[in-house]
Symmetry: C2
Subunit: 308 residues, 2 copies
């Protein structure tokens, strides 16, 4: 058991991310008390059954009372509502952070509500799976993953140091960037891939000449790799699309332009153009594996797992 | 050791698929002799080092002499050349099959060259990984995967029965369909996903505002799922694009149409349309897992593999 970093932590939202934080905090002894709050009575009850915290309340305003660290883990579209609810009961000197996938929008929604003397430090742990809800979380989710802070110009260095120590204890590697750059980076590495995955699964679902059962049966030949992302939480991803609109539209425009070029090469039988692109993309995969961001087993190691 | 199904098998092409077949044939004792042939001297030498067969030759014409079963595992664009090379030396009564990802084109390329008395049965095992070459193959690759035959109208039932027994011994499940339908099904479950994956990785590679090292560093948030497919063999995929053009162009058109709809919904803030699509796609993932076509562990089980 590490020394408690915080006396009391409040977790607002207890889905995949919130509940993984809760599990790590408990396992590592990072706080004396962990107050859990979520809007849904059913989810709150489930969090209690799983013994994710030390107390439970449906009221976010109640939850943050006396907390040294408040972590907001809700769909980004709900950020302003939460900020409004907790503003009056935040303890002076408390650190408030979030885990949202878009940063400029979360800052615009939350910063204006934060009272003087409270340290608001926007954050984004780049971790998750396609599952959602309090049962989906697990210990070690953040191990070796990046957590990006987008501190505001007046961020207190001591508060930032404490929050860094917290995420480092969870195994995360820390980065800092400005919110606009964060939103552009995430638009390409995360938002566009999810949108494309949702789109291709939708296209397949709508075909008249190929049945859904054929799509499912033969999915191992490529399609299934997209279905993992397309099984992600719909509320979360609707909110991401609505709250990082400009950067996403820019990436979509580039993607479509490139696809039109590829389509034309296929139509006109320009094998050299196809070969050039298909060769260039191979090296990126290699770099990702070398950077420790994916496992170096063929087929994501599905064969190895199958045999267990 | 099973009773040998064939006295002599010739494998033309010894990449990921060919070498996996060779390994299974050896492990299961499915043939007395296995002759391996490939154009590249280096690959042939490597196949011999790996002891994948019982004899080795650079000449496809030599290789098929006296073979009861000939399996052609080359990029689909090379099918006609192989057919031309082996036509004169095929043994009467031999079965010739292939493993190509497109079927109408392979039939058009090979069937005219097949001599009277030889049984040409086009086939396609839906199995593989992102790796290529003789070292990439492994025993059990076809276990639980589908193998689709697209028999010609005059296919000999006894030859089909023998080829079915062969693929069944390798653990495959067998399906039959006509070549045109095969090409449409594969266009959506395999060819479009690969093209989209190549395209998005290319788009990311071309950005000026986000660096390649950022893309790699933060790829675990979605992007990396695409890089596996985009690391597939460029020659194979160039040929697939050129040899299943019509079906691929149709799927690309539908995909782009759907993406334009989604893009418009993002631009105009139509959250309900986004939510509807993002919910619908979730159920397909569930069906794929239930059908045994993917592993039911979060994140493809990368965490489980990491900890090994």
């Amino acid at each position: 058991m590490t020394d408690a970093l915080f006396s009391r932590i409040a977790l607002i939202g207890i889905g995949l991310i919130g509940s993984s934080i809760a599990r790590d905090v408990k396992a590592l002894g990072l706080a004396k008390e962990v107050v859990i709050s979520t809007r849904s009575a059913e989810t709150l009850r489930r969090a209690e059954e799983l013994q994710l915290g030390t107390s439970y309340t449906a009221s976010a305003a109640e939850a943050v009372k006396g907390a040294d660290l408040v972590i907001v883990s809700v769909p980004v579209g709900a950020s302003e509502e939460v900020a409004r609810q907790i503003a009056a009961t935040l303890k002076p000197g408390a650190i408030v952070t979030d885990v949202g996938s878009t940063k400029a929008s979360v800052i615009a929604q939350m910063a204006p509500h934060m009272p003087e003397g409270v340290h608001f430090i926007p954050g984004h742990p780049l971790a998750g799976t396609e599952k959602s809800g309090p049962d989906a979380g697990f210990e070690g989710l953040f191990q070796g993953r990046w957590c990006i802070f987008t501190p505001l110009p007046d961020t207190d260095p001591e508060a930032l140091r404490k929050l860094t120590a917290f995420w480092t204890a969870l195994g995360s590697r820390i980065d800092e960037m400005d919110p606009q750059h964060h939103d552009k980076v995430l638009a390409i590495v995360s938002h566009l891939p999810h949108i494309i995955a949702y789109n291709i699964v939708g296209t397949a679902d709508d075909l008249e000449t190929v049945t859904e059962s054929e799509v499912i049966k033969y999915s191992a030949s490529g399609f299934r790799d997209f279905t993992r992302l397309a099984a992600s939480d719909p509320t979360m991803w609707r909110d991401v699309c609505l709250h990082n609109r400009e950067a996403i539209l820019e990436m979509l425009a580039r993607f479509s332009e490139d696809l039109a070029y590829l389509q034309r090469a296929i139509r006109w039988g320009e094998g050299d153009k196809l070969f050039e692109l298909f060769s260039r993309t191979r090296t990126i995969r290699r770099s990702i594996v070398e950077a420790g961001q994916d496992v170096d087993v063929p087929d994501f190691g599905r064969h190895a797992l199958d045999k267990k």
